[in-house]
């Protein structure tokens, strides 16, 4: 039963072997000589100053989150579209699909209104509104 997938097994094994062989050979052949001055973080040859962890902008996080949500929505649409033909009641299936998209679209509207989809937020426009 699984014989139809023997090509996949061959590819899988080849891929794993091709990745692991250079890693193993490299670990065997390369010089390994760590000492504290070598492991120090590189700061243009000065003594390292400050924390190694930097604070990143929250906009990256919110953009990634919005992407994940809508990507999962798209992924869930695919099986729905695939089995759409087999449904006895296609009208109900269509309405349910549209309701699903609309609910998530409501979420997109909320995020849009809050301003989380604009990257550059300028203060000047707000100042003009106040005048």
């Amino acid at each position: 039963m699984f014989l139809t997938y023997h090509a996949v097994l061959v590819f899988l094994i080849t891929g794993v072997v091709m990745v692991c062989t250079p890693l193993v050979l490299g670990a065997l052949f390369r010089p390994r000589n760590p000492y504290p001055e070598k492991s120090m973080p590189y700061e243009c040859a000065e003594d390292p100053v400050g924390d190694a962890q930097i604070r990143f902008d929250m906009r990256f996080y919110s953009a990634a989150l919005i992407f994940i949500i809508f990507d999962v929505e798209i992924a869930l649409m695919f099986p729905w579209a695939r089995v759409f033909q087999g449904f006895p009641d296609r009208g109900l299936a269509a309405i349910e699909g549209v309701i699903f998209v609309l609910i998530l679209g409501l979420g997109l509207l909320y995020v849009w209104a809050k301003g989380d989809v604009t990257w550059i937020k300028s203060f000047r426009s707000r100042r003009r509104v106040q005048d």
């Binding site: 670990a27 065997l28 052949f29 390369r30 010089p31 390994r32 000589n33 000492y35 001055e37 070598k38 120090m40 590189y42 040859a45 000065e46």
Partner: protein, 174 residues
């Protein structure tokens, strides 16, 4: 060093593998962009078009010591700078090579008699493979130095259990 370094018998196949590895290492010596003083101008001239260093495989200067094989030290090394040079050399990954370019770096140069703040030769601070004298050395002289370094690399023993030089044996410096 690695598990198999300097542990195989010194027979022809092992020497052949050594030669291949040394050919690879010597033909792609990536220097670090580290210009200190006047000799750096001649070093830049060597990277540039007229005296192109890229044809020897060494024309990919890296900005960080982690990715470079060779540190060319051009220019007078002060006491202030010597600390940084040593730290940069420490942060390079093996196999690493040092080329001392210029009279100041080879043995003090014009500052050998009255220089109160200069290190009389960077070999007091880091182990040097190739010395290229001159004030400044001509670009052809620097290219000659890099080719001599390639020759020196081709004589190294990677796998074969051959006698290694004192510099190679130093556990701390490679």
């Amino acid at each position: 060093m690695g598990v198999l370094n300097n542990s195989l018998p010194d027979i022809a196949p092992v020497r052949g593998v050594d030669a291949a590895i040394n050919w690879g290492r010597g033909s792609s010596i990536w220097p670090m962009t580290f210009g200190i003083a006047c000799c750096a101008i001649e070093m830049m001239a060597v990277y540039a078009a007229t005296f192109d260093l890229d044809r020897f495989g060494a024309g990919v200067p890296r900005a960080t010591p982690r990715q470079s094989d060779l540190i060319i030290v051009p220019g007078t090394v002060n006491a202030k700078m010597a600390v940084r040079v040593k730290r940069l050399y420490d942060q390079m990954a093996e196999p690493r090579y040092v080329l001392a370019m210029g009279a100041c770096v080879c043995g003090g140069g014009p500052y050998v008699k009255w220089g109160y703040n200069t290190v009389k030769g960077v070999h007091k601070v880091i182990p040097v493979d190739i010395f290229v004298p001159g004030c400044p050395p001509r670009p052809e002289a620097l290219m000659d130095g890099i080719l001599k370094l390639k020759e020196k690399i081709s004589r190294e023993a990677v796998f074969a259990r051959r006698e290694r030089s004192a510099r190679e044996m130093d556990a701390r410096y490679g």
